[in-house]
């Protein structure tokens, strides 16, 4: 096969992207779990591990540039490599959200949680599940799968709205005691909501890789619109 070298390099890079994705999924799940268990040591570990994720992202980026520079990819080969550069950036940002969640655990400190965490772990589970399938779709070049995933973002958004409303009731009930922590927990939920949004960006790159078409798959209303709707409904 005349482009064996290029093909094997692309496959290797795709495997690296999957491996980076697994690191990111693990970070998100562990960050939420350590918050739930109030495990500060685990949170510190997640913050430290973010460096390894950043380094892996840069390594994949550097290797992709080498393949572009040395192998002269064209058409779908070029699109895959361009998409890899985008996807690793999204993954690195999602890992930053995990780091942010881990920091929240440390910021809350020894104070007990104002409420048990039920929907936040669900959000994390849903977002990482979407991420995993989006990366599979990327490697498998499965457009149908990629186009279906952003629709699931509704579930994450609904969970976010629920967390928001619930936290607001805690704030209204006792602002002095609950405002600060409610704010931190809302930050956590917001990070998870954004992580799911970034999965949509990855799905868009799958479509671009296969079809060459650049189009928005995010058909959801933005967070500002949703907030004002949520606030109105609460009134």
């Amino acid at each position: 096969m005349p482009r064996e070298m290029l093909d094997s390099e692309i496959q290797r890079l795709q495997k690296e992207v999957m491996s980076l994705g697994e690191m990111v999924e693990k970070s998100i799940l562990e960050a939420v779990d350590s918050l739930k268990r109030r495990d500060f040591e685990a949170s510190r570990r997640i913050i430290a591990q973010d460096q390894a994720i950043n380094e892996k992202r840069f390594a994949i980026e550097a290797d992709t540039l080498v393949v572009i520079a040395t192998q002269q990819p064209m058409a779908s080969d070029l699109r895959i490599l361009a998409a890899i550069l985008e996807v690793v950036t999204e993954l690195e940002r999602i890992a930053d959200y995990a780091k942010g969640i881990a920091k929240v655990n440390l910021l809350i400190g020894e104070k007990p949680l104002i409420k048990p965490l039920i929907d936040i772990p669900r959000m994390a589970q849903k977002a990482t599940d979407m991420l995993h399938r989006a990366l599979e779709a990327f490697v498998q070049k499965d457009v149908e799968k990629a186009m279906a995933i952003p629709k699931e973002d509704d579930e994450v958004d609904a969970l976010y709205d629920q967390v928001y409303r619930e936290l607001m009731t805690y704030v209204i009930a006792n602002p002095a005691a609950n405002l600060e922590q409610a704010n931190y927990l809302l930050w956590v939920a917001h990070n998870l909501e954004r992580a799911a949004d970034r999965v949509t960006n990855i799905c868009e790159r799958v479509v671009f890789t296969v079809t060459g078409e650049m189009k928005e798959l995010d058909i959801q209303e933005d967070i500002g619109t949703r907030w004002s709707r949520t606030i109105k409904e609460g009134q």
Partner: protein, 270 residues
């Protein structure tokens, strides 16, 4: 150390880089004209080293020094050392024929003998008094050169009936059959169509697991695709070819250290 340097070379075993050829203070004259000046370069074993540079900079002259092909050019004079496995090939006690057997050369234009495909491989062995199983050696060489499947049913057809790409692979098989450890290739794909050229490139990658390959090419994209190391040669103000930069191909083509290399590979010069 940059990320590029930390990453292992793709598709290669992690053996340490060990020079099989060391070029030391090499100067080459054609008559009174110095054409290559003070070249120092290590060619690593089981790797592909590409030599790139503008036309007339001395790339072919350099590669021809590596198996004393310049001996055949009137008025050519070589100073300095080319150490092959530690021994200077320009020493007076060196058997030049033996050097050219161990360091084979493939040229721009395929040059099979006007004989059968089989005889092209077998002939070199016969004149060396080979007593073993010729059929086996011919088949092995043709398989190594990724040509066997295409010619196994017509081994006794004239080699000149093969396509250009096939002829070039036959020339590579011919060198492998006589036991070359190093293959020097001077623009081996420039007379071929793009697909045949890519086949040669894939063959070279495969062969680099067992052989050392030095390729001269004016096709930068080809050098980038195929080689592990790249040497860039360019004239100085006196039109003497100098080694400007040498390093991992991935570094040369993504982050060259010398502005002249950058200008050349980005098409701003040459």
């Amino acid at each position: 150390m940059s990320w590029l340097q930390k990453m292992p070379l793709p598709d290669l075993p992690d053996n340490p880089e060990e020079p099989i050829i060391k070029i030391r203070n090499l100067n080459v004259w054609y008559g009174n004209r110095l054409v290559l000046g003070d070249i120092n370069l290590d060619i690593p074993r089981n790797r592909i080293t590409a030599i790139i540079g503008p036309s007339g900079c001395g790339k072919s002259t350099l590669i021809r020094c590596l198996n004393r092909m310049n001996d055949l050019i009137p008025n050519a004079r070589v100073e300095g050392q080319v150490l092959f496995d530690g021994k200077n090939i320009y020493s007076s006690d060196v058997d030049v024929t033996e050097i050219r057997r161990r360091i084979g050369m493939v040229f721009q234009k395929p040059n099979p003998f006007p004989k059968s495909i089989y005889e092209n491989i077998a002939w070199g062995l016969r004149i060396r008094g080979f007593k073993g199983n010729l059929d086996e050696v011919v088949e092995r060489a043709l398989r190594q050169a990724a040509l066997w499947d295409e010619v196994k049913d017509k081994l006794h057809a004239n080699a000149l009936t093969l396509s250009g790409g096939q002829q070039q692979r036959l020339c590579i098989a011919r060198a492998l059959a006589v036991g070359s450890e190093v293959l020097l290739l001077d623009e081996p794909a420039s007379a071929l169509d793009p697909i045949s050229a890519l086949k040669i490139e894939e063959l070279l990658r495969e062969l680099s697991r067992d052989y050392t390959i030095v390729i001269v090419t004016h096709n930068m994209q080809q050098a980038a695709r195929v080689s592990h190391y790249t040497a860039f040669i360019m004239w100085d103000d006196n039109r003497v070819g100098r080694l400007i930069e040498y390093g991992l191909t991935r570094d040369i083509f993504t982050n060259p250290k010398d502005k002249r290399t950058e200008d050349y590979i980005t098409g701003r010069f040459g």
